[in-house]
């Protein structure tokens, strides 16, 4: 069909072109490449207008920089276009299903972004007199109240900057508590299915990590645990629900047993989403637990941060909480910033200033939006969705542990055995279907693990389509279409990347071509 200007209005039927052909620009329609920012500069371009400095006598003490820095000069539209183009090479929860197990990729409401940017909240200086930031301190205090109520714990340390930082806070409080009693304990028990941050944190606190194996049903082996307990055990670090997506049914017994030998119970709260409003960790004997605000309370992951990891504490550990913290008295809110008075036993300061305020604002907005009723609904829908996926795939994939799961469904790779297709290959084929792959090869205790966490944000239609796509791919794999998987992904901005090459010969920064000619010798000599 041609319109009256002689232009075709319908695609004409032709033979399929080869999709792998390269275009002149390297772009493919809406898939737009952008060279490195350093390859786009023209000296003298300006991206920020500002006043000319008044001529003054330098007070830099003779420390003036002499040579150039090497940054490129660009205009504002160039920079904007560059980063817009880059953004379009990213997958995102806003764009599609992101079932990354143990990462809780849920909807990130935009009201949270809006209120975090309000004048008087987002632009406060941390060293303003406390009389000028009463609203900010009230906000921190209010978030602390929500966190304590949700977890049923009496105290909370707000300053840790992320989950692993929260673990450090919790284990330091444990060590400080033992030392205050004049005890020097040496071991921390950690289940072998734990996140790598657990043993790394325990090691940084000077503890020897003693690994506890899992039982056949995916929970911690209670016999092995009992055997390893002793007067030299400082505590146990247990993720609950655990990394296999299961609730540790013996959790109260674990708490009692570790308390009996004088140790403390650290709970990794990475998976709190599954139990919001259904059970409070404080009722399970927990002494310390970090809360990833960027998981459970939807502060955006931002491509890998920033996070926030407040730590709720039992009465036994509360005196050792890090500084600073907010207090409330007759003259309103105040900050305890030094290790004295109310903070005499504090184990110290963990980061500059008062914590991840920007994340606090977003998390509190999220909690207020949900309320007590919505929080409980989160856990219910998250667990419902995970079980819906588990059942939807159970005849195609093997669950290493039977029965109801919590917020995530775990499968092993036994279906793929003998197909020549690995969990990784399957994941790359999922990319072509428009999904972000699930968490793979974690927990380490399951062969070729696939950990799928749908969260409460997903509709039944999304889940049905996902289940359909997975079944389709698994059928393809077992039907011997190995080549399809080995070549995936075909439709992503990049094909599979050479990670071995990247690690053998690390190129961690751009170097200007001129510098490469002149300084190559010096840079490689340094390595």
């Amino acid at each position: 069909m041609l319109n009256n200007k002689g232009r075709p209005t319908q695609p004409t039927t032709q033979s399929e072109p080869d999709v792998s052909i390269d275009t002149f620009t390297g772009n493919k329609g809406l898939e737009l490449e952008s060279p490195l920012i350093f390859e786009q500069g023209v000296p003298g371009r300006v991206g920020v207008d500002m006043a000319d400095p008044e001529p003054v006598k330098s007070r830099l003490g003779g420390l003036e920089r002499k040579g150039p820095i090497g940054l490129p000069d660009l205009s504002e539209p160039q920079v904007l276009r560059h980063f817009v183009r880059l953004s379009r090479q990213n997958y995102a929860i806003d764009a599609g299903f992101y079932p990354l197990g143990s990462c809780t990729m849920k909807h990130n409401p935009r009201i949270n972004e809006k209120v975090a940017r309000l004048a008087g909240l987002g632009d406060l200086h941390p060293m303003q007199p406390t009389s000028t930031v009463q609203g900010a301190l009230e906000l921190i205090n209010s978030l602390a109240h929500w966190l304590k109520t949700i977890t049923g714990m009496p105290a909370v340390a707000m300053s840790p900057a992320a989950g692993a930082h929260g673990e450090l806070c919790g284990v330091m409080a444990i060590r400080a508590a033992h030392e205050a009693k004049g005890e020097s304990r040496t071991r921390i028990l950690v289940p072998e299915s734990a996140h790598g941050t657990n043993p790394a944190t325990a090691a940084l606190c000077g503890y020897k990590v003693d690994s506890v194996p899992a039982r056949k049903d995916g929970r911690m082996d209670m016999d092995a645990f009992a055997e390893k307990l002793g007067p030299d055990v400082a505590g146990v670090m247990l993720t609950n629900p655990n990394t296999c997506g299961l609730f540790e049914t013996d959790v109260k017994k674990i708490a009692d047993m570790v308390h009996e030998v004088g140790g403390y119970f650290y709970c990794d709260g990475a998976n709190l989403n599954a139990i919001l409003g259904r059970v409070r960790p404080g009722d399970l004997g927990v002494d310390a637990m970090h809360i990833n605000l960027h998981k459970t309370f939807s502060t955006p992951h931002g491509g890998g941060g920033p996070g926030a990891g407040p730590v709720v504490l039992s009465d036994a550990l509360a005196p050792f909480a890090p500084i600073p913290f907010v207090t409330h008295g007759e003259n309103g809110f105040d900050l305890v910033e030094q290790k004295s008075g109310a903070a005499a036993q504090s184990f110290g300061r963990m980061k500059g200033y008062h914590g991840q305020m920007g994340m606090f604002i977003r998390a509190l907005a999220y909690m207020q939006s949900h309320g007590a009723d919505g929080l409980r609904q989160i856990a219910e829908d998250a667990v419902l969705n995970a079980n819906y996926i588990r059942v939807g795939l159970q005849d195609k994939l093997n669950s290493p542990f039977s029965g109801i799961c919590m917020h995530e469904a775990l499968f092993d790779d036994s279906t793929l055995k003998g197909t020549g297709v690995t969990t990784l290959d399957l994941a790359k084929a999922m990319i072509d279907e428009g999904y972000h792959p699930m968490t793979m090869y974690f927990p380490l205790v399951v062969h070729g693990a696939m950990l799928i966490e749908p969260t409460e944000s997903e509709s039944r239609q999304t889940l049905d389509q996902f289940i359909g796509a997975m079944r389709h791919l698994l059928d393809k794999a077992t039907a011997g279409e190995t080549e399809y998987f080995l070549s995936a992904p075909l439709f992503a901005p990049r094909r599979r990347l050479d990670e071995t090459g990247a690690a053998r010969n690390p190129v961690l920064r751009w170097v200007s071509p001129e510098a490469t000619d002149n300084e190559d010798a010096s840079l490689s000599a340094a390595s």
């Binding site: 990670e499 690690a503 053998r504």
Partner: protein, 125 residues
Amino acid sequence: MSYKFTEDHEWVLLEGDVATIGISDYAQGQLGDVVYVEVPTVGDEIAKGDELAVVESVKAASEVYSPVSGEIIDVNTELEGAPTMVNEDAMEGGWFAKIRVTNSADLDDLMDEATYKTFVEGLDE
């Protein structure tokens, strides 16, 4: 003078009182593409069972434990620039360190080549 093996897949070649240590061809195959080898420092004393080296692939780091006690007298610095040697020539060019052995009895409980071969075959089943 012949190769001896540990159950952790290290090999030892004793010449006089100097033991050369590496990992077996089977081990390099299991590790996949080696991207880096962290070798010990010459002059350090090492005890049997201590960490001698770390072999890294993209997604894993494996510790290599010393099968003997003694002083580190030489390390394979070429591995820094060419970690692929561990994959390509595990039993010779891919050696990690040479140790002046304090007690040659350390080698007594190690496997000879034939026993190790049987041991590895057992693992693959």
